[in-house]
Amino acid sequence: MATAAMGRPGSKGDLPILLAPVTALLVLVFFVPLSFVLFYSVYDNGLTAKAFVSLAKSTLFLRVLGTSFDIALSATAVSLLLGYPIALHLARQPPRRRALLMILVLLPFWTSILVKSFAFYIILGNQGIINQALRWVFGEAAAVKLLFNRVGVIVGMSHYLIPFVVFPALASLLAQNPDLRRAAQIMGAGPVRIFLRITLPLSMPGVIAGGLMSMVISLGVFVTPTLLGGKADMMMANLIDFYTRDTLDWNTAAAIAVILLALSGILIAMLSWVRRDDGVA
Protein backbone atom coordinates (compact mmCIF):
# COMPACT_ATOMS: atom_id res chain seq x y z
CA MET A 1 0.00 0.00 0.00
CA ALA A 2 2.61 2.51 1.10
CA THR A 3 4.89 1.78 -1.83
CA ALA A 4 1.99 1.96 -4.24
CA ALA A 5 1.01 5.35 -2.86
CA MET A 6 4.57 6.60 -3.03
CA GLY A 7 5.03 5.23 -6.51
CA ARG A 8 2.13 7.28 -7.83
CA PRO A 9 3.46 10.45 -9.44
CA GLY A 10 2.54 13.69 -7.65
CA SER A 11 1.43 11.94 -4.47
CA LYS A 12 4.79 12.14 -2.73
CA GLY A 13 3.98 15.49 -1.12
CA ASP A 14 0.83 14.09 0.50
CA LEU A 15 2.67 11.56 2.58
CA PRO A 16 3.98 13.74 5.47
CA ILE A 17 0.53 15.30 5.89
CA LEU A 18 -1.17 11.90 5.95
CA LEU A 19 1.32 10.54 8.46
CA ALA A 20 1.19 13.59 10.75
CA PRO A 21 -1.70 12.53 13.05
CA VAL A 22 -0.32 9.08 13.74
CA THR A 23 3.14 10.54 14.28
CA ALA A 24 1.79 13.02 16.82
CA LEU A 25 -0.09 10.26 18.62
CA LEU A 26 2.97 8.00 18.76
CA VAL A 27 5.15 10.81 20.10
CA LEU A 28 2.59 11.58 22.79
CA VAL A 29 1.72 8.08 24.01
CA PHE A 30 4.89 6.19 23.14
CA PHE A 31 8.05 8.25 22.79
CA VAL A 32 7.38 10.62 25.68
CA PRO A 33 6.64 7.88 28.27
CA LEU A 34 9.50 5.82 26.90
CA SER A 35 11.87 8.74 27.37
CA PHE A 36 10.71 9.04 30.98
CA VAL A 37 11.37 5.34 31.53
CA LEU A 38 14.85 5.59 29.98
CA PHE A 39 15.52 8.67 32.11
CA TYR A 40 14.31 7.14 35.40
CA SER A 41 16.37 4.00 34.82
CA VAL A 42 19.57 6.04 35.20
CA TYR A 43 18.29 8.82 37.54
CA ASP A 44 17.88 8.75 41.32
CA ASN A 45 18.76 12.13 42.78
CA GLY A 46 21.42 12.47 40.08
CA LEU A 47 22.66 10.26 37.23
CA THR A 48 23.51 6.74 38.40
CA ALA A 49 23.73 3.17 37.16
CA LYS A 50 23.10 1.71 40.60
CA ALA A 51 19.75 0.19 39.65
CA PHE A 52 21.38 -1.92 36.93
CA VAL A 53 24.25 -2.88 39.24
CA SER A 54 21.98 -4.01 42.04
CA LEU A 55 19.69 -5.86 39.60
CA ALA A 56 22.69 -7.81 38.32
CA LYS A 57 23.23 -9.00 41.92
CA SER A 58 19.56 -9.43 42.86
CA THR A 59 18.56 -13.09 43.17
CA LEU A 60 14.92 -12.06 42.87
CA PHE A 61 15.52 -10.35 39.53
CA LEU A 62 17.69 -13.16 38.17
CA ARG A 63 15.13 -15.74 39.19
CA VAL A 64 12.31 -13.76 37.57
CA LEU A 65 14.42 -13.31 34.42
CA GLY A 66 14.95 -17.08 34.33
CA THR A 67 11.26 -17.77 34.94
CA SER A 68 10.31 -15.31 32.19
CA PHE A 69 12.51 -17.05 29.63
CA ASP A 70 11.38 -20.45 30.85
CA ILE A 71 7.70 -19.54 30.47
CA ALA A 72 8.23 -17.70 27.17
CA LEU A 73 10.14 -20.64 25.67
CA SER A 74 7.62 -23.25 26.85
CA ALA A 75 4.66 -21.19 25.68
CA THR A 76 6.36 -20.63 22.31
CA ALA A 77 7.17 -24.32 21.94
CA VAL A 78 3.60 -25.32 22.79
CA SER A 79 2.21 -22.67 20.40
CA LEU A 80 4.46 -23.89 17.59
CA LEU A 81 3.54 -27.52 18.16
CA LEU A 82 -0.17 -26.69 18.12
CA GLY A 83 -0.01 -23.88 15.54
CA TYR A 84 2.08 -25.56 12.84
CA PRO A 85 -0.43 -28.34 12.10
CA ILE A 86 -3.14 -25.67 11.89
CA ALA A 87 -1.06 -23.71 9.37
CA LEU A 88 -0.42 -26.92 7.43
CA HIS A 89 -4.12 -27.68 7.33
CA LEU A 90 -5.00 -24.12 6.27
CA ALA A 91 -2.41 -24.20 3.49
CA ARG A 92 -4.11 -27.25 1.96
CA GLN A 93 -7.60 -25.75 1.84
CA PRO A 94 -9.09 -24.01 -1.19
CA PRO A 95 -8.77 -20.20 -0.78
CA ARG A 96 -12.41 -19.53 0.13
CA ARG A 97 -12.52 -22.15 2.87
CA ARG A 98 -9.11 -21.05 4.08
CA ALA A 99 -10.30 -17.45 4.54
CA LEU A 100 -13.17 -18.73 6.67
CA LEU A 101 -10.95 -20.93 8.82
CA MET A 102 -8.48 -18.06 9.28
CA ILE A 103 -11.23 -16.05 10.92
CA LEU A 104 -11.71 -18.92 13.38
CA VAL A 105 -7.99 -18.85 14.18
CA LEU A 106 -8.32 -15.15 14.96
CA LEU A 107 -11.33 -15.71 17.22
CA PRO A 108 -9.32 -15.53 20.51
CA PHE A 109 -8.48 -11.90 19.63
CA TRP A 110 -12.12 -10.94 19.76
CA THR A 111 -12.38 -11.59 23.48
CA SER A 112 -10.68 -9.58 26.23
CA ILE A 113 -7.77 -11.39 27.85
CA LEU A 114 -9.47 -10.85 31.21
CA VAL A 115 -12.66 -12.59 30.13
CA LYS A 116 -10.68 -15.44 28.60
CA SER A 117 -8.68 -15.87 31.79
CA PHE A 118 -11.88 -16.23 33.80
CA ALA A 119 -13.15 -18.70 31.23
CA PHE A 120 -10.07 -20.77 31.99
CA TYR A 121 -11.13 -20.88 35.68
CA ILE A 122 -14.29 -22.63 34.56
CA ILE A 123 -12.35 -25.09 32.42
CA LEU A 124 -9.17 -25.69 34.42
CA GLY A 125 -10.23 -24.97 38.02
CA ASN A 126 -10.51 -27.50 40.83
CA GLN A 127 -14.27 -27.67 40.21
CA GLY A 128 -13.73 -27.05 36.49
CA ILE A 129 -14.91 -29.11 33.55
CA ILE A 130 -11.70 -31.10 33.15
CA ASN A 131 -11.37 -32.03 36.82
CA GLN A 132 -15.04 -32.95 37.14
CA ALA A 133 -14.69 -35.23 34.17
CA LEU A 134 -11.53 -36.81 35.62
CA ARG A 135 -13.26 -37.38 38.98
CA TRP A 136 -16.27 -38.88 37.28
CA VAL A 137 -14.14 -41.32 35.28
CA PHE A 138 -11.27 -42.15 37.64
CA GLY A 139 -12.60 -41.30 41.12
CA GLU A 140 -11.90 -38.55 43.65
CA ALA A 141 -8.08 -38.85 43.66
CA ALA A 142 -7.73 -38.22 39.93
CA ALA A 143 -8.11 -34.42 40.12
CA VAL A 144 -5.01 -32.49 38.96
CA LYS A 145 -3.97 -28.92 39.64
CA LEU A 146 -4.20 -27.03 36.37
CA LEU A 147 -4.63 -23.52 37.68
CA PHE A 148 -2.47 -21.07 39.63
CA ASN A 149 0.65 -22.89 38.48
CA ARG A 150 2.88 -23.18 35.40
CA VAL A 151 0.34 -25.30 33.51
CA GLY A 152 -2.29 -22.57 33.79
CA VAL A 153 0.14 -19.92 32.55
CA ILE A 154 1.27 -21.99 29.55
CA VAL A 155 -2.30 -22.88 28.58
CA GLY A 156 -3.44 -19.26 28.81
CA MET A 157 -0.46 -17.90 26.91
CA SER A 158 -0.50 -20.51 24.14
CA HIS A 159 -4.14 -19.77 23.58
CA TYR A 160 -3.22 -16.15 22.97
CA LEU A 161 -0.03 -16.84 20.98
CA ILE A 162 -1.23 -19.43 18.46
CA PRO A 163 -2.45 -16.91 15.84
CA PHE A 164 0.94 -15.17 15.97
CA VAL A 165 2.57 -18.49 15.10
CA VAL A 166 0.00 -19.70 12.57
CA PHE A 167 0.10 -16.71 10.23
CA PRO A 168 3.85 -16.48 9.53
CA ALA A 169 4.02 -20.28 9.16
CA LEU A 170 1.04 -20.22 6.80
CA ALA A 171 2.64 -17.46 4.73
CA SER A 172 5.79 -19.49 4.15
CA LEU A 173 3.79 -22.64 3.42
CA LEU A 174 1.70 -20.82 0.83
CA ALA A 175 4.79 -19.28 -0.75
CA GLN A 176 6.06 -22.74 -1.67
CA ASN A 177 5.80 -23.70 -5.32
CA PRO A 178 3.34 -26.63 -5.41
CA ASP A 179 5.31 -28.09 -8.33
CA LEU A 180 8.13 -28.91 -5.86
CA ARG A 181 5.87 -31.36 -4.07
CA ARG A 182 4.59 -32.74 -7.39
CA ALA A 183 8.13 -33.18 -8.68
CA ALA A 184 9.13 -35.03 -5.49
CA GLN A 185 6.07 -37.26 -5.76
CA ILE A 186 6.85 -38.19 -9.34
CA MET A 187 10.44 -38.94 -8.33
CA GLY A 188 8.95 -41.52 -5.97
CA ALA A 189 8.99 -39.72 -2.62
CA GLY A 190 6.30 -40.59 -0.07
CA PRO A 191 4.36 -38.03 1.99
CA VAL A 192 6.63 -38.28 5.06
CA ARG A 193 9.79 -37.67 3.07
CA ILE A 194 8.16 -34.80 1.17
CA PHE A 195 7.14 -33.19 4.45
CA LEU A 196 10.51 -33.63 6.16
CA ARG A 197 12.74 -32.79 3.20
CA ILE A 198 10.70 -30.11 1.40
CA THR A 199 7.63 -28.68 3.13
CA LEU A 200 9.14 -28.34 6.62
CA PRO A 201 12.58 -26.91 5.72
CA LEU A 202 11.03 -24.43 3.27
CA SER A 203 8.62 -23.23 5.96
CA MET A 204 11.39 -22.67 8.55
CA PRO A 205 11.66 -18.90 7.98
CA GLY A 206 7.98 -18.58 8.86
CA VAL A 207 8.31 -20.90 11.84
CA ILE A 208 11.32 -18.97 13.17
CA ALA A 209 9.58 -15.63 12.60
CA GLY A 210 6.47 -16.87 14.42
CA GLY A 211 8.59 -18.26 17.25
CA LEU A 212 10.52 -15.00 17.72
CA MET A 213 7.33 -12.97 17.62
CA SER A 214 5.81 -15.27 20.20
CA MET A 215 8.95 -14.88 22.39
CA VAL A 216 8.75 -11.08 22.22
CA ILE A 217 5.10 -11.10 23.17
CA SER A 218 5.39 -13.64 25.96
CA LEU A 219 8.40 -11.97 27.61
CA GLY A 220 6.24 -8.89 28.21
CA VAL A 221 3.13 -10.71 29.40
CA PHE A 222 1.52 -9.35 32.58
CA VAL A 223 -2.11 -10.38 32.99
CA THR A 224 -1.88 -14.12 32.30
CA PRO A 225 0.70 -15.01 35.01
CA THR A 226 -1.16 -12.78 37.47
CA LEU A 227 -4.51 -14.46 36.90
CA LEU A 228 -3.60 -18.03 35.97
CA GLY A 229 -0.15 -18.47 37.55
CA GLY A 230 1.04 -19.19 41.06
CA LYS A 231 3.59 -17.40 43.25
CA ALA A 232 6.49 -18.99 41.39
CA ASP A 233 5.32 -17.74 38.00
CA MET A 234 6.24 -14.09 38.41
CA MET A 235 7.48 -12.57 35.14
CA MET A 236 9.34 -9.36 34.28
CA ALA A 237 6.23 -7.25 33.88
CA ASN A 238 4.92 -8.45 37.24
CA LEU A 239 8.23 -7.51 38.83
CA ILE A 240 8.02 -4.01 37.31
CA ASP A 241 4.53 -3.73 38.75
CA PHE A 242 5.84 -4.85 42.12
CA TYR A 243 8.58 -2.18 42.18
CA THR A 244 6.33 0.65 40.97
CA ARG A 245 3.32 0.02 43.16
CA ASP A 246 4.50 -1.89 46.22
CA THR A 247 7.96 -0.46 46.90
CA LEU A 248 7.66 2.77 44.86
CA ASP A 249 11.22 2.14 43.60
CA TRP A 250 10.78 3.75 40.18
CA ASN A 251 14.47 3.68 39.47
CA THR A 252 14.66 -0.13 39.63
CA ALA A 253 11.30 -0.56 37.87
CA ALA A 254 12.52 1.59 34.99
CA ALA A 255 15.80 -0.34 34.80
CA ILE A 256 13.91 -3.64 34.48
CA ALA A 257 11.71 -2.09 31.79
CA VAL A 258 14.83 -1.02 29.87
CA ILE A 259 16.29 -4.53 30.10
CA LEU A 260 13.00 -6.00 28.89
CA LEU A 261 12.97 -3.51 26.04
CA ALA A 262 16.55 -4.40 25.09
CA LEU A 263 15.76 -8.14 25.07
CA SER A 264 12.71 -7.56 22.87
CA GLY A 265 14.83 -5.31 20.64
CA ILE A 266 17.35 -8.11 20.11
CA LEU A 267 14.57 -10.61 19.27
CA ILE A 268 12.97 -8.15 16.83
CA ALA A 269 16.34 -7.56 15.18
CA MET A 270 16.64 -11.32 14.72
CA LEU A 271 13.10 -11.36 13.33
CA SER A 272 13.87 -8.77 10.66
CA TRP A 273 17.05 -10.67 9.83
CA VAL A 274 15.03 -13.87 9.28
CA ARG A 275 12.53 -11.95 7.18
CA ARG A 276 15.24 -10.48 4.98
CA ASP A 277 16.84 -13.86 4.48
CA ASP A 278 13.42 -15.23 3.60
CA GLY A 279 13.01 -12.61 0.89
CA VAL A 280 16.27 -13.54 -0.81
CA ALA A 281 15.58 -17.28 -0.88
Binding site: N177, R182, A184, G188, P201
Partner: protein, 358 residues
Protein backbone atom coordinates in the same frame (compact mmCIF):
# COMPACT_ATOMS: atom_id res chain seq x y z
CA UNK B 1 7.11 -52.44 -26.29
CA UNK B 2 4.82 -49.52 -25.58
CA UNK B 3 6.23 -47.50 -22.66
CA UNK B 4 2.93 -45.76 -22.17
CA UNK B 5 -0.47 -46.54 -23.61
CA UNK B 6 -3.75 -44.71 -23.17
CA UNK B 7 -7.04 -46.46 -23.88
CA UNK B 8 -10.12 -44.31 -24.44
CA UNK B 9 -9.06 -41.85 -21.76
CA UNK B 10 -11.46 -39.01 -21.00
CA UNK B 11 -11.30 -36.20 -18.49
CA UNK B 12 -14.14 -33.86 -17.63
CA UNK B 13 -14.02 -30.79 -15.42
CA UNK B 14 -17.67 -30.17 -14.67
CA UNK B 15 -19.19 -29.53 -18.06
CA UNK B 16 -15.82 -28.97 -19.80
CA UNK B 17 -14.43 -31.99 -21.63
CA UNK B 18 -10.67 -31.46 -21.27
CA UNK B 19 -10.00 -34.81 -23.00
CA UNK B 20 -12.40 -36.96 -25.03
CA UNK B 21 -11.68 -40.65 -25.60
CA UNK B 22 -7.96 -40.35 -26.34
CA UNK B 23 -5.94 -43.35 -27.53
CA UNK B 24 -2.18 -42.92 -27.60
CA UNK B 25 0.81 -45.20 -27.42
CA UNK B 26 4.48 -44.22 -27.10
CA UNK B 27 7.16 -46.81 -27.86
CA UNK B 28 10.45 -47.31 -26.05
CA UNK B 29 13.01 -44.77 -27.18
CA UNK B 30 10.46 -42.65 -28.98
CA UNK B 31 10.18 -38.87 -28.76
CA UNK B 32 6.52 -37.88 -29.06
CA UNK B 33 5.32 -34.30 -28.87
CA UNK B 34 1.88 -33.16 -27.82
CA UNK B 35 1.25 -30.08 -29.92
CA UNK B 36 -1.84 -27.93 -29.95
CA UNK B 37 -3.38 -24.56 -29.18
CA UNK B 38 -3.94 -23.33 -25.63
CA UNK B 39 -6.64 -25.28 -23.82
CA UNK B 40 -6.46 -28.27 -26.17
CA UNK B 41 -5.74 -30.64 -23.26
CA UNK B 42 -1.97 -31.17 -23.51
CA UNK B 43 -1.20 -30.54 -19.85
CA UNK B 44 -4.25 -32.53 -18.80
CA UNK B 45 -3.03 -35.51 -20.83
CA UNK B 46 0.46 -35.27 -19.31
CA UNK B 47 -0.88 -34.96 -15.76
CA UNK B 48 -3.11 -37.94 -16.38
CA UNK B 49 -0.12 -40.05 -17.29
CA UNK B 50 1.81 -38.68 -14.29
CA UNK B 51 -1.13 -39.50 -12.01
CA UNK B 52 -1.66 -35.89 -10.93
CA UNK B 53 -5.23 -35.95 -12.18
CA UNK B 54 -7.55 -38.96 -12.26
CA UNK B 55 -9.17 -40.02 -15.52
CA UNK B 56 -12.96 -39.72 -15.71
CA UNK B 57 -12.91 -42.89 -17.79
CA UNK B 58 -10.44 -45.03 -19.69
CA UNK B 59 -7.17 -46.72 -18.74
CA UNK B 60 -3.49 -45.75 -18.53
CA UNK B 61 -0.75 -48.36 -18.97
CA UNK B 62 2.97 -47.89 -18.29
CA UNK B 63 5.17 -50.75 -19.47
CA UNK B 64 1.94 -52.74 -19.97
CA UNK B 65 1.04 -52.36 -16.28
CA UNK B 66 -2.35 -50.82 -15.60
CA UNK B 67 -1.52 -47.73 -13.53
CA UNK B 68 -4.88 -46.01 -13.76
CA UNK B 69 -5.28 -46.16 -9.97
CA UNK B 70 -1.58 -46.09 -9.02
CA UNK B 71 -0.29 -42.95 -7.22
CA UNK B 72 2.32 -40.76 -9.00
CA UNK B 73 5.14 -41.93 -6.73
CA UNK B 74 4.68 -45.54 -7.88
CA UNK B 75 4.58 -44.92 -11.63
CA UNK B 76 8.33 -44.82 -12.34
CA UNK B 77 8.19 -41.58 -14.33
CA UNK B 78 10.28 -38.47 -14.64
CA UNK B 79 8.93 -34.98 -15.18
CA UNK B 80 10.52 -31.72 -16.27
CA UNK B 81 8.56 -28.61 -15.34
CA UNK B 82 8.46 -25.25 -17.09
CA UNK B 83 9.48 -23.53 -13.83
CA UNK B 84 12.23 -26.17 -13.26
CA UNK B 85 10.81 -27.19 -9.82
CA UNK B 86 14.28 -27.50 -8.31
CA UNK B 87 14.33 -27.52 -4.51
CA UNK B 88 15.59 -24.01 -3.63
CA UNK B 89 17.03 -25.04 -0.25
CA UNK B 90 19.13 -27.88 -1.68
CA UNK B 91 22.34 -27.70 -3.67
CA UNK B 92 22.42 -28.96 -7.24
CA UNK B 93 24.04 -32.14 -5.93
CA UNK B 94 21.29 -32.74 -3.36
CA UNK B 95 18.61 -32.00 -5.95
CA UNK B 96 19.94 -34.59 -8.37
CA UNK B 97 20.64 -37.05 -5.54
CA UNK B 98 17.05 -36.75 -4.26
CA UNK B 99 15.46 -39.44 -6.48
CA UNK B 100 18.43 -41.75 -5.81
CA UNK B 101 18.08 -41.29 -2.04
CA UNK B 102 14.38 -42.10 -2.40
CA UNK B 103 15.54 -45.34 -4.01
CA UNK B 104 17.92 -45.97 -1.08
CA UNK B 105 21.06 -46.08 -3.24
CA UNK B 106 24.40 -46.23 -1.33
CA UNK B 107 26.17 -42.83 -1.08
CA UNK B 108 29.25 -43.76 -3.09
CA UNK B 109 27.05 -44.81 -5.97
CA UNK B 110 24.94 -41.67 -5.60
CA UNK B 111 28.03 -39.49 -5.86
CA UNK B 112 29.27 -41.30 -8.98
CA UNK B 113 25.88 -41.14 -10.67
CA UNK B 114 25.38 -37.44 -9.96
CA UNK B 115 28.84 -36.66 -11.31
CA UNK B 116 28.16 -38.68 -14.46
CA UNK B 117 24.86 -37.01 -15.17
CA UNK B 118 26.27 -33.52 -14.54
CA UNK B 119 28.93 -34.25 -17.13
CA UNK B 120 26.22 -35.47 -19.48
CA UNK B 121 24.37 -32.14 -19.30
CA UNK B 122 27.70 -30.33 -19.60
CA UNK B 123 27.62 -28.68 -16.18
CA UNK B 124 30.28 -30.64 -14.29
CA UNK B 125 31.26 -27.83 -11.89
CA UNK B 126 28.01 -26.62 -10.37
CA UNK B 127 27.29 -29.46 -7.91
CA UNK B 128 27.72 -27.32 -4.79
CA UNK B 129 25.71 -24.33 -6.02
CA UNK B 130 22.14 -23.50 -5.09
CA UNK B 131 19.65 -23.43 -8.01
CA UNK B 132 19.19 -19.65 -7.70
CA UNK B 133 22.88 -19.23 -8.50
CA UNK B 134 22.31 -20.69 -11.98
CA UNK B 135 20.83 -19.17 -15.15
CA UNK B 136 17.43 -20.32 -16.43
CA UNK B 137 18.98 -22.54 -19.08
CA UNK B 138 21.36 -24.09 -16.56
CA UNK B 139 18.53 -24.72 -14.10
CA UNK B 140 16.57 -26.51 -16.81
CA UNK B 141 19.61 -28.68 -17.60
CA UNK B 142 19.81 -29.61 -13.92
CA UNK B 143 16.14 -30.47 -13.84
CA UNK B 144 16.63 -32.68 -16.90
CA UNK B 145 19.66 -34.26 -15.20
CA UNK B 146 17.50 -34.97 -12.15
CA UNK B 147 15.23 -37.04 -14.41
CA UNK B 148 17.99 -38.78 -16.32
CA UNK B 149 19.82 -39.87 -13.18
CA UNK B 150 17.28 -42.49 -12.10
CA UNK B 151 16.45 -43.74 -15.56
CA UNK B 152 12.63 -43.68 -15.43
CA UNK B 153 10.48 -45.53 -17.99
CA UNK B 154 9.23 -42.30 -19.47
CA UNK B 155 10.16 -38.64 -19.13
CA UNK B 156 7.34 -36.11 -19.32
CA UNK B 157 8.15 -32.51 -20.18
CA UNK B 158 5.54 -29.74 -20.05
CA UNK B 159 6.78 -26.78 -22.09
CA UNK B 160 10.24 -27.08 -20.51
CA UNK B 161 11.66 -24.27 -22.63
CA UNK B 162 8.70 -21.91 -22.29
CA UNK B 163 10.50 -19.64 -19.82
CA UNK B 164 13.67 -19.25 -21.90
CA UNK B 165 14.47 -16.68 -24.57
CA UNK B 166 14.53 -17.60 -28.25
CA UNK B 167 18.25 -18.17 -28.60
CA UNK B 168 18.55 -20.31 -25.48
CA UNK B 169 15.49 -22.28 -26.57
CA UNK B 170 17.12 -23.19 -29.87
CA UNK B 171 20.26 -24.25 -28.04
CA UNK B 172 18.33 -26.33 -25.48
CA UNK B 173 16.26 -27.99 -28.22
CA UNK B 174 19.42 -29.33 -29.76
CA UNK B 175 20.67 -30.34 -26.31
CA UNK B 176 17.49 -32.31 -25.58
CA UNK B 177 17.65 -33.91 -29.04
CA UNK B 178 21.26 -34.91 -28.40
CA UNK B 179 20.43 -36.48 -25.01
CA UNK B 180 17.50 -38.35 -26.52
CA UNK B 181 19.65 -39.76 -29.31
CA UNK B 182 22.55 -40.59 -27.01
CA UNK B 183 20.59 -42.25 -24.19
CA UNK B 184 17.62 -43.78 -25.99
CA UNK B 185 15.21 -42.31 -23.44
CA UNK B 186 11.46 -42.20 -24.05
CA UNK B 187 10.04 -38.71 -23.97
CA UNK B 188 6.54 -37.25 -24.08
CA UNK B 189 6.95 -33.54 -24.64
CA UNK B 190 4.38 -30.73 -24.56
CA UNK B 191 4.75 -27.58 -26.59
CA UNK B 192 2.60 -25.15 -28.52
CA UNK B 193 5.52 -24.16 -30.73
CA UNK B 194 5.19 -26.04 -34.05
CA UNK B 195 8.81 -25.46 -34.98
CA UNK B 196 10.01 -26.94 -31.68
CA UNK B 197 7.78 -29.95 -32.29
CA UNK B 198 9.23 -30.42 -35.80
CA UNK B 199 12.83 -30.14 -34.58
CA UNK B 200 12.48 -32.63 -31.74
CA UNK B 201 9.87 -35.22 -32.53
CA UNK B 202 9.80 -38.72 -33.94
CA UNK B 203 6.05 -38.32 -33.95
CA UNK B 204 3.76 -35.37 -33.33
CA UNK B 205 0.39 -35.76 -31.66
CA UNK B 206 -1.61 -32.73 -32.74
CA UNK B 207 -4.41 -31.97 -30.29
CA UNK B 208 -7.48 -29.81 -30.65
CA UNK B 209 -10.33 -29.38 -28.16
CA UNK B 210 -9.43 -32.44 -26.12
CA UNK B 211 -9.08 -34.76 -29.12
CA UNK B 212 -6.17 -36.06 -31.15
CA UNK B 213 -6.52 -34.34 -34.49
CA UNK B 214 -3.68 -36.28 -36.11
CA UNK B 215 -0.79 -38.44 -34.92
CA UNK B 216 2.21 -39.12 -37.14
CA UNK B 217 5.70 -38.23 -38.28
CA UNK B 218 6.32 -34.48 -38.71
CA UNK B 219 6.56 -34.84 -42.50
CA UNK B 220 3.31 -36.82 -42.61
CA UNK B 221 1.46 -34.09 -40.75
CA UNK B 222 3.01 -31.46 -42.93
CA UNK B 223 2.53 -33.04 -46.34
CA UNK B 224 -0.57 -35.13 -45.68
CA UNK B 225 -2.60 -33.26 -43.08
CA UNK B 226 -5.79 -35.11 -42.16
CA UNK B 227 -7.83 -31.95 -41.64
CA UNK B 228 -7.60 -28.26 -42.57
CA UNK B 229 -6.93 -27.62 -38.84
CA UNK B 230 -3.72 -29.62 -39.06
CA UNK B 231 -2.81 -27.88 -42.31
CA UNK B 232 -3.22 -24.40 -40.85
CA UNK B 233 -1.63 -25.26 -37.50
CA UNK B 234 1.56 -26.61 -39.07
CA UNK B 235 3.23 -24.20 -41.44
CA UNK B 236 1.66 -21.72 -43.84
CA UNK B 237 -1.21 -22.81 -46.02
CA UNK B 238 -3.57 -21.69 -48.78
CA UNK B 239 -7.06 -23.12 -48.41
CA UNK B 240 -9.56 -22.79 -51.27
CA UNK B 241 -13.17 -23.89 -51.71
CA UNK B 242 -13.45 -26.17 -54.76
CA UNK B 243 -15.96 -28.51 -56.42
CA UNK B 244 -15.31 -32.10 -57.42
CA UNK B 245 -15.22 -32.79 -61.16
CA UNK B 246 -13.69 -36.26 -61.36
CA UNK B 247 -13.32 -38.59 -58.34
CA UNK B 248 -11.20 -41.47 -59.77
CA UNK B 249 -8.50 -42.60 -60.35
CA UNK B 250 -7.07 -39.19 -59.41
CA UNK B 251 -9.41 -36.44 -58.28
CA UNK B 252 -9.86 -33.33 -60.40
CA UNK B 253 -11.60 -30.27 -58.93
CA UNK B 254 -12.79 -26.93 -60.26
CA UNK B 255 -11.11 -24.03 -58.53
CA UNK B 256 -11.63 -20.28 -58.42
CA UNK B 257 -12.25 -18.87 -61.91
CA UNK B 258 -13.23 -22.28 -63.19
CA UNK B 259 -9.70 -23.67 -63.70
CA UNK B 260 -9.24 -27.42 -63.41
CA UNK B 261 -6.98 -28.57 -60.56
CA UNK B 262 -5.53 -32.07 -60.53
CA UNK B 263 -4.46 -34.15 -57.52
CA UNK B 264 -2.83 -37.58 -57.29
CA UNK B 265 -5.30 -39.14 -54.86
CA UNK B 266 -8.76 -40.47 -55.45
CA UNK B 267 -11.72 -39.12 -53.51
CA UNK B 268 -14.67 -41.23 -52.43
CA UNK B 269 -17.33 -38.59 -52.98
CA UNK B 270 -19.96 -37.82 -55.57
CA UNK B 271 -19.21 -35.46 -58.44
CA UNK B 272 -20.17 -31.82 -57.70
CA UNK B 273 -19.48 -32.29 -53.97
CA UNK B 274 -17.90 -29.30 -52.22
CA UNK B 275 -14.31 -29.76 -51.10
CA UNK B 276 -11.56 -27.78 -49.46
CA UNK B 277 -8.19 -27.71 -51.16
CA UNK B 278 -4.78 -27.07 -49.61
CA UNK B 279 -1.62 -26.03 -51.36
CA UNK B 280 1.47 -24.88 -49.43
CA UNK B 281 2.82 -21.40 -50.33
CA UNK B 282 6.28 -22.80 -51.05
CA UNK B 283 4.77 -25.13 -53.67
CA UNK B 284 3.26 -22.25 -55.64
CA UNK B 285 5.68 -21.16 -58.37
CA UNK B 286 5.29 -17.98 -60.43
CA UNK B 287 5.30 -19.06 -64.08
CA UNK B 288 7.11 -17.29 -66.91
CA UNK B 289 5.10 -16.65 -70.12
CA UNK B 290 6.54 -19.63 -71.91
CA UNK B 291 6.17 -22.00 -68.92
CA UNK B 292 3.22 -24.16 -68.04
CA UNK B 293 2.47 -26.40 -65.04
CA UNK B 294 0.13 -29.26 -64.20
CA UNK B 295 -2.04 -26.94 -62.11
CA UNK B 296 -2.31 -23.22 -62.76
CA UNK B 297 -4.20 -20.25 -61.36
CA UNK B 298 -3.87 -16.70 -62.55
CA UNK B 299 -4.45 -13.46 -60.72
CA UNK B 300 -3.06 -10.02 -59.91
CA UNK B 301 -0.07 -9.43 -57.63
CA UNK B 302 -1.53 -7.53 -54.67
CA UNK B 303 1.60 -7.35 -52.53
CA UNK B 304 5.21 -8.48 -52.48
CA UNK B 305 7.13 -8.85 -49.22
CA UNK B 306 10.87 -9.40 -49.18
CA UNK B 307 12.06 -11.25 -46.03
CA UNK B 308 15.76 -11.76 -46.75
CA UNK B 309 16.17 -15.23 -48.14
CA UNK B 310 12.46 -15.60 -48.87
CA UNK B 311 10.04 -13.43 -50.86
CA UNK B 312 6.27 -13.68 -50.37
CA UNK B 313 3.83 -12.90 -53.19
CA UNK B 314 0.21 -12.19 -52.36
CA UNK B 315 -1.94 -12.92 -55.41
CA UNK B 316 -5.60 -11.99 -55.77
CA UNK B 317 -7.62 -14.51 -57.77
CA UNK B 318 -10.56 -13.52 -60.00
CA UNK B 319 -13.08 -14.46 -57.27
CA UNK B 320 -11.35 -12.21 -54.72
CA UNK B 321 -9.52 -14.79 -52.58
CA UNK B 322 -5.87 -14.00 -51.91
CA UNK B 323 -3.32 -16.80 -51.98
CA UNK B 324 0.33 -16.68 -50.95
CA UNK B 325 3.40 -17.93 -52.73
CA UNK B 326 6.76 -18.13 -50.96
CA UNK B 327 9.89 -18.38 -53.06
CA UNK B 328 13.58 -18.33 -52.33
CA UNK B 329 14.79 -14.86 -53.27
CA UNK B 330 16.86 -15.02 -56.45
CA UNK B 331 18.76 -12.10 -57.92
CA UNK B 332 17.98 -8.45 -57.31
CA UNK B 333 14.70 -6.62 -57.86
CA UNK B 334 11.19 -8.08 -57.75
CA UNK B 335 10.39 -10.28 -60.76
CA UNK B 336 6.72 -9.28 -60.45
CA UNK B 337 5.46 -5.74 -59.82
CA UNK B 338 2.37 -4.99 -57.68
CA UNK B 339 -0.70 -4.79 -59.90
CA UNK B 340 0.75 -6.89 -62.70
CA UNK B 341 -0.91 -10.15 -63.81
CA UNK B 342 0.76 -13.39 -62.69
CA UNK B 343 0.28 -17.11 -63.18
CA UNK B 344 1.08 -19.54 -60.33
CA UNK B 345 1.68 -23.23 -60.95
CA UNK B 346 2.12 -26.39 -58.85
CA UNK B 347 2.28 -30.13 -59.37
CA UNK B 348 -0.62 -32.54 -58.76
CA UNK B 349 1.35 -34.18 -55.90
CA UNK B 350 1.08 -30.97 -53.89
CA UNK B 351 -2.71 -30.72 -54.06
CA UNK B 352 -4.36 -31.89 -50.82
CA UNK B 353 -8.15 -32.29 -50.68
CA UNK B 354 -10.47 -32.39 -47.65
CA UNK B 355 -14.22 -32.89 -47.47
CA UNK B 356 -15.91 -29.50 -46.99
CA UNK B 357 -17.00 -28.57 -43.47
CA UNK B 358 -13.98 -30.10 -41.73
Amino acid sequence: MAMVRLEQVSKRYGSVAALSAVDLSVDKGEFVTLLGPSGSGKTTLLNLIAGMVAASSGKVFIRDRDVTDVPPSQRDLGMVFQNYALMPHMTVFENIAFPLRVRKMPSAEVRAKVEDVLRLVQLPDVAQRKPRELSGGQQQRISIARCLVYNPSLILMDEPLGALDRKLRDQMQLEIKRLHGQLGITVLYVTHDQEEAMVLSDRICLMNQGRIEQLGKPAELYFHPATPFVATFLGESNLLDVTLVTAEPAAVVRGPGGCAIRSEKQVSMAVDASLRMLVRPEHLRPLAQSESACNEVSGIVSNVIFIGGITCYFVQLPDGTVITSRRLTEGAGPPAAIGSPIRLGWSAANTVLFPAGT
